[in-house]
């Protein structure tokens, strides 16, 4: 890798201070499993001048259920989330999403904060040495539109930039389905409001803002959650489509539904039409199928990714059924 300066931060303040000092040319590093790959390939027009290690900041790695909420420090490893008994029992979708992320090794290194903040995997964006200076890097065009877009967005491009790269996280849709929130060094955000498309940006975070905690309200009684992932290989792979659902059923009818797809759009895709379709109904094969149909009713597939519409349809159906 090319050279850079490195700082082990001992507090949030110290980390923020470094980020400000470098004015956008410094990056936060936690697990490093995303960032180091980007740096080895030098995919971005500007290489970071400094890395600020936040894993040396104490107090950001904990799993607690208290006050009717689950609180996770942003530095909790995905493997630990996947194995945690409380997360598995009460916040199932998140545990399943964490367990299905990448590989055991990546999960031992990768943090929940990092997984939510991770960058897109579009193979044009990620081509080494900035071979494709695309919209997402401040360049002029999207190369996927005319190129090979078999893994790109089926719901159109991002509103402002016209980027079609999907968001690749497994935990993000789970967090949204579970109505989670993120606490940063500056504010509290709903998970749904956390993701945004910009130049070299996948979140609304300021350059000097760091995620510190994740909070998930304890689901009410009679609520189940589930997460499904579709990928080519059974391990290591990013999702082609994934789906998380949290559904409350009372008296055999759905009273609350939150369904979130990911890897199908530029940010995690809340399948509101599917939620509307299943509300008030019982969870049956037929109703779940209709909800799946509704979920993709707005799909605008590209030339190579029609098949993703079918998979999204099916994952919505199956994740609803898994919440029975």
């Amino acid at each position: 890798m090319k050279k850079f300066a490195h700082f082990n931060a001992r507090s949030i303040d110290e980390a923020v201070s470094y980020l400000n000092r470098y004015g956008g040319k410094a990056h936060v590093i936690a697990g490093g499993t995303d960032l180091l790959g980007k740096m080895k390939d030098e995919i971005l027009p500007k290489y970071p001048e400094a890395l600020v290690n936040i894993r040396t900041i104490p107090g950001l790695e904990f799993v607690k259920e208290e006050g009717r909420a689950l609180r996770l420090g942003a530095l909790v490893r995905l493997e630990d989330i996947g194995k945690d008994a409380i997360v598995n029992k009460n916040y199932t979708a998140l545990a399943e999403a964490a367990r299905k992320t990448a590989s055991p090794h990546i999960r031992e290194m990768g943090t929940i904060g990092g997984n939510l903040c991770q960058d897109i995997r579009c193979w044009y964006y990620r081509n080494p040495h900035n071979r494709f200076p695309c919209l997402r890097k401040g360049g002029g065009r999207c190369y996927a539109i005319e190129g090979d877009n078999r893994y790109h967005s089926i719901f159109g491009g991002s509103v402002e930039e016209g980027c079609y790269a999907v968001h690749p996280s497994d935990t993000a849709p789970a967090l949204i389905a579970l109505n989670g929130r993120l606490k940063t060094s500056k504010r509290m955000l709903n998970a749904e409001d956390f993701f945004e498309v910009g130049v070299e940006r996948t979140t609304v975070l300021d350059r000097d803002e760091i995620v510190t905690e994740i909070e998930i309200p304890t689901p009410e009684a009679d609520t189940k959650s589930a997460f499904l992932k579709f990928a080519i290989r059974k391990s290591i792979d990013f999702p082609i489509v994934n789906c998380a659902a949290m559904i409350t059923s009372k008296g055999g009818k759905v009273t609350d539904a939150r369904i979130c797809l990911n890897a199908v759009y530029v940010i995690p895709y809340r399948a509101k039409k599917a939620e509307e379709a299943i509300l008030g109904k019982e969870i049956s094969e037929k109703n779940a199928e209709a909800a799946g149909e509704a979920a993709v009713s707005d799909a605008k597939p590209l030339k190579d990714n029609r098949y993703m519409v079918q998979i999204a349809r099916i994952l919505v159906k199956r994740s609803i059924l898994a919440c029975k």
Binding site: M1, K2, K3, G37, D41, R121, W123, Y124, N127, P128, H129, R131, F132, Y143, E146, G147, D148, R150, F230, I232, R233, K234, S235, I236, D237, F238, I240, R306, Y307, V309, Q310, I311, I314, L315
Partner: protein, 791 residues
Amino acid sequence: MERDKYIPDTFRILGKRGTRRIDGFRKASGTAVYTRDIILPGMLYAKWLTCPYPNAKIISLDTQRAEELPGVRAILRYDDPEVYGRRIPTLQGGEEDILAGYAYFQGQQVGAVVAADTEEIADEALKLLRVTWEKRPFILEAREALEPGAPLTRPEWRPKSNLMPLFFQPTDTFRFGDVEKGFKEADRIIEFKARRRYHGCSDAEPVSGITRWEGECAELWLHHQHPYEHKWMMNMWFGIPMSKVKINAPYNGAMFGGWNWIDYSMVPQYVSALLAKRTRKPVKWIFDRRDDFTFGSLDAMESEFKVGFKEDGTITAVKIKTYFENLSFEAGLHFVENTKIPNVESQTLVAQVNKGPVHAIRCEQLPPAFAAIHVFNHVAAELEMDPIQLALKNDGAEGEDIVKLEDFKRKHGFPLRDSLRECVEAGKKAIGWDEKWHAPGAHKLPNGKMHGMSFIWDHEWDDNRGAGAAGLMIQQDGSVSIIALRSDVGVNAESTYCQIVAEELGMRPEDVFLRQQDDVHLPLMTPDGSCNLTTNGYVMKKVAKRAKKKLLELATTTVHMIERDVPPAFPDMNPEDLDIKDSIIYVKKDPSIKKTVAEVVKDVKGSFMQKHEYGAIQNTTHEPIYAWAWHRQGRLGKEPGRQRLCRQAHFCEVEVDPETGEVEVTKVVNVNDVGKAMSPETVEGQQYGGTYMGIGRNRSEEYIWDPKTGVLLNGNLVDYKFASMRDVGPIETVIVETSLGLGPYGSVGIGEDVATDTTNLLQGAVYNAIGKWVDDGPITPKKVLEALGKA
């Protein structure tokens, strides 16, 4: 070539399980060394400029800023007088540019090579090069490249058209019999297409190599299957005598042919030798993982089939037309080699496209296996016939049925066993074929998925080619050294050679060792063609026999030395009175009279006026027990008249999710008739290992280029997907031993054929599951959904 005449009825070591691998501990403990691990004092790292475009020529190259970077020791430019416009001959039968000023695929190593103190500095220097390129139009598809008026894809090499000369065959149309006649005799004729897309990426260890000059002598470290051959090439290239070239052949991180057969594979070593001369330091040339995506497999092909057959399943004619990318292998071959199909016509059109060179990646038989398996799949489906019955119906060779094979077996003293039938019976039982096989699309499982099964068959590879030499020395302590240079690719060959020697010489396996990494000048057959055990096995048999003779002579002969006569270990005996077992020499008539081999060879009171027991310095009693042997096994491929008698059969079960297109492989059965399994665990390793590679690569491996720019999009191991542990279900391996091989003890090869054939195992299973063909590899969920009309 004759059948092995010396096949014992029983074996002490060979064929038994539990014999320890000689490389196992080193590999498990991390002490085995690979070229990638080696760092020499003062060593420089050499890295190449790679072309960002799929078809381009350098207009200008400014190296000044790179030269000024501290730590850069040399930059070789394409227009350097020593390399400009020069092509060097390579052992693969061709030649290649040493350092071209033009590229024909994105990522090709061209233009400049930087030698620097560290890899980072070399990378930095490459970025400081200022290059201007003339971009030329590019073509990625073979058909397009062969259209009239198509722009030239590699103009400096093919200035007239993109049609490439054939490498493995004399004409572009292979003819056997008369297909038109065959079609007239057919009851039915079907036509269909099938395709396999460019794939490769075979090295776990990205390629690298080191050259170091010591005065006028050269020392090389090679991650290459042909190490000894590099001596010859150094002589060709630099004029130094082969006797002054020393080769090191460290362990290799996965080598499956491929790279080693690409003409270019020797060029980086030449460049490192040149740079090592100029800088007077050892130079390691190095490809990183992206650089390593620089070649592929020679089955990037698109075939059109026309097949004629009778109602009873007799296939009367097969006509194929195939477009290949960059290299081909005769697609019609297996019809002639192991079926009775009397009429075959296969046209091959090879187009130079703007993708990296291709060659045999486990192995060159991929095209004929692809063709044969697709034909049998489609004919069986059309007739609604059990594919096993179809196979048995058409087994044979050179247009004649198995009676021809029986005649051959009789003539050459082989047992009269029907290999295919035996393989099929064993496999059917293992997978439960009779209970489970069903009509296409007919079996939906309780979990909603569609159940499918497939059966494929082929001959068992027995190229029986190559030559090898080895020495054998019995050390003063009775341990046996096999003396040979060979590149290891992990197929447990070295251990098996030791076991053969142990068997033939009468030693315990743990007393025989081969250290093949060192340049001891005698080269064993290279790990190619699934035939090195058959060739090197004979070398081991011969050399062990010769050594045994010398050992027993020493045991029974008085040795007359200057100071004294040393009486024999077994006085008043002849060599034929003795035998050896478990490293002990004993009298046949009275085995209680015995001495260990160590005792017999030990040089008593031999040291330099000292009373040590061990000698071998200046007072040595007897000459070393040393023997050597050379063996050549046969012609490349198959001699006229020689038949392939052994068969292999593979079965699989899949569950296809009709809603998502996911194909889950729930069971595989491999059945291989290897003639004789000298090391059962090794054979099995090639079976399940080959299955993981074969099935894996036809589910998820393809190189993906951007259609607009010709840039490789997935040149990394996140986006280029090898099978992981859970991507294939349980595999059951069955070994059949009919002794129908021409190799030692009746053996044939196993290294490549399972990987080759199982690459085509899923097509039939998917059809059986959903009643639709996905004849476009890799079989991805996208393609399955498209076949089902759901995408």
